[in-house]
Assembly symmetry: C2
Homo-oligomer: 357 residues x 2
DNA sequence: CTGTTAGCGCCTTCAC
DNA sequence: GTGAAGGCGCTAACAG
């Protein structure tokens, strides 16, 4: 039933001109008589014309779309990143393909293959583990790539990350400043780089202050359930090592801390009187828990914006490079080859002190 | 630098055959000699060929992509819906464009325009208010549409919704069964159909039991902050009407209930001893609050799956219809016109009783 | 079984 | 200023 989509040919016919003229008029490029143009524009409007980005993409060799892969959108950490990416994409005329993978390698492959099939102009991977793991695969597709909170040594893969080491260090420092001595770490067994950085920060800061980073554990996931399971291990380890409760537990993220909070409550352990607790991410919920959570806030939205900006820069660079290659065809001077300097942006967050410490 | 993308022409040349043959071999359609085919397949693999869905889409008049618009992915309610849609899309060879709009009409328009530009094969709108509002706009694009938790009277717009009236009724019934008498409702001033249904259920069930649905209010948003602000209004209204606290407050959703919980706690009001509290959605967090939240769980993932299934059915129907029209060109018998019966699927959830009642 | 021709909707030279 | 070709990568007819 759907009325046949109107094309520039239809408009051309209706206006009594040729398609190229319509094309020029619509895009405001090339010379077109003022009168002709306005007539065409009116006609296009009236006929309900929408340019086909797929046809346009075919000739221009760009799809005006980018693919984004995240592990899961259920993790509040990614919400703002996606928002930042989306807003920036939209503002630049790009539409966003979004795919979630749950750290499933097969799914990841399929998704990237899909993106390639659709000839996305770039891919953003926000997935603390998968990104690094599939860097090779991603890199050989030839599509510009930006990694969020992950990194790879490939020269054509840029990245934007948060200073997890510094941030978590400040949390641990804060806890020490508050006077807590026996400080445990509850990590996320499923995370990659971020987990390593945070654990390392915990160890280093503690050592610098003469404390022993002896008690730590990991939960099976970075979600509430992972927190409940992990905190029990921490308590057990603390009992074994200190024959007592820890003074504080620094968690991988807020969500795990909230899981931990539940277990502590159930065991009659008061926070922060008996045990202090911290998270990371400053998710919405952290201000509403009982007690509210001391945490660390990354500039997530900005990270998303910058990730997309970085991608756009690459896309445009690639086009410039292509043009250059095309111009210089035959005369292949290696010095004209594009030099894609790998760029890595590091962002910094801020400490949010609440009632749990 | 990116090596020129390999096309079927390149493969054809390498294999010493023509492109159409390569095309046939790759798709396993039409007759191709066993030997030729395997040679082509090997070559394609070796040369790293990926079919261009944009070129294919241009000739087939389908993009193998669908657009999904949600108000925000920060609302846990949408996570599973998106997952369901995405999984189903992927399983059927579709890739998903995702756009968030924050109930902003302009944004909504721009996003839909983008989708049209990319010639998506269908659009899913999960946005309790916007969907209904822009039904006209959406409908005239001629693209198959499925509304989630919203509805429109256009014959070509299908929808899938949850039985909010029945579900919320069961929550209220549960609260009554628990013996609470003065039952207030805390709504979401930003929501559309769902808000109306839930409020109506609250009113009806109360009336049926001889209670007066006198005290209610709305928060400015459906998030925690909306809950904090809204619950204060409810308390004020209760004080004015009953000169006392309400016995129970039924909230629009879990997130608002969590906001409310914080205010109640700050005012020394115990849940559920002084006031019982309920939410809707059964978000992850609801099992981890203090006390844990009695709530209602919709089959969200299934809703997403069905929404996509409904869309696929429409897409295929449309194609069948197009074919029929093409066959019958000239002989325009109105009885051969496709009859798109509007389909509306209603799903049902389940009550989750926890400690807040 | 395979090659030729044509065209999806658009843009980009190039003549006129 | 405008129109006439040609082609992006692929598929759908038809020949052979």
């Amino acid at each position: 039933m759907a009325a046949k989509r109107v094309s520039i040919k239809d408009i051309a016919e209706a206006a009594g001109v040729s398609h190229p003229t319509v094309s020029r008029a619509l895009r405001g490029q090339g010379r077109v008589a003022q009168e002709t143009r306005s007539r065409i524009l009116a006609l296009a409007e009236e006929m309900g014309y929408t340019p086909s980005l797929v046809a346009r993409g075919l000739v221009n060799q760009r799809s005006y779309s980018v693919g984004m892969v995240v592990t899961t959108i259920a993790d509040p950490f990614y919400h703002d990143i996606v928002r930042g990416v989306e807003d920036t994409a939209l503002a630049n005329g790009y539409t966003l393909y979004l795919a979630t993978t749950n750290v499933d390698p097969d799914r990841e492959m399929q998704v990237v293959a899909n993106f390639q099939g659709h000839r996305v102009d770039g891919i953003i991977v926000a997935s603390s583990r998968v990104g690094a793991r599939y860097a090779d695969l991603l890199s050989e597709t030839g599509v510009p790539i930006v990694l969020v909170n992950s990194h790879a040594d490939h020269s054509n893969i840029h990245s934007i990350a948060h200073d997890d080491y510094g941030g978590f260090g400040q949390i641990v420092q804060h806890v020490i400043d508050r006077g807590y001595g026996r400080i445990a770490y509850l990590g996320n067994g499923r995370a990659g780089r971020a987990e390593q950085e945070r654990r390392r920060a915990w160890r280093d800061i503690l050592s610098q202050h003469g404390h022993t980073p002896a008690v730590s554990s990991v939960g099976p996931t970075g979600r509430q359930l992972g927190g409940t399971i992990g905190v029990q291990s921490v308590l057990d380890a603390a009992a074994a090592h200190w024959h007592d409760l820890p003074d504080a537990i620094c968690c991988y993220n807020d969500t795990m801390a909230i899981g931990a909070l539940k277990i502590l409550r159930e065991q009659g352990i008061r926070v922060p009187q008996d045990v202090a607790l911290t998270g990371v991410d400053d998710i919405d919920m952290s201000a509403y828990t009982q007690p509210s959570l001391t945490t660390w806030r990354q500039p997530r939205y900005e990270m998303g914006v910058q990730a997309m900006a970085l991608l756009l820069a690459q896309v445009n660079d690639a086009r410039v490079a292509d043009a250059r290659v095309a111009d210089a065809k035959g005369a292949d001077d290696p010095s004209t080859a594009p030099s894609p300097m790998r760029q890595e942006i590091i962002t910094h967050g801020e400490l949010i002190v609440r009632d749990s410490t």
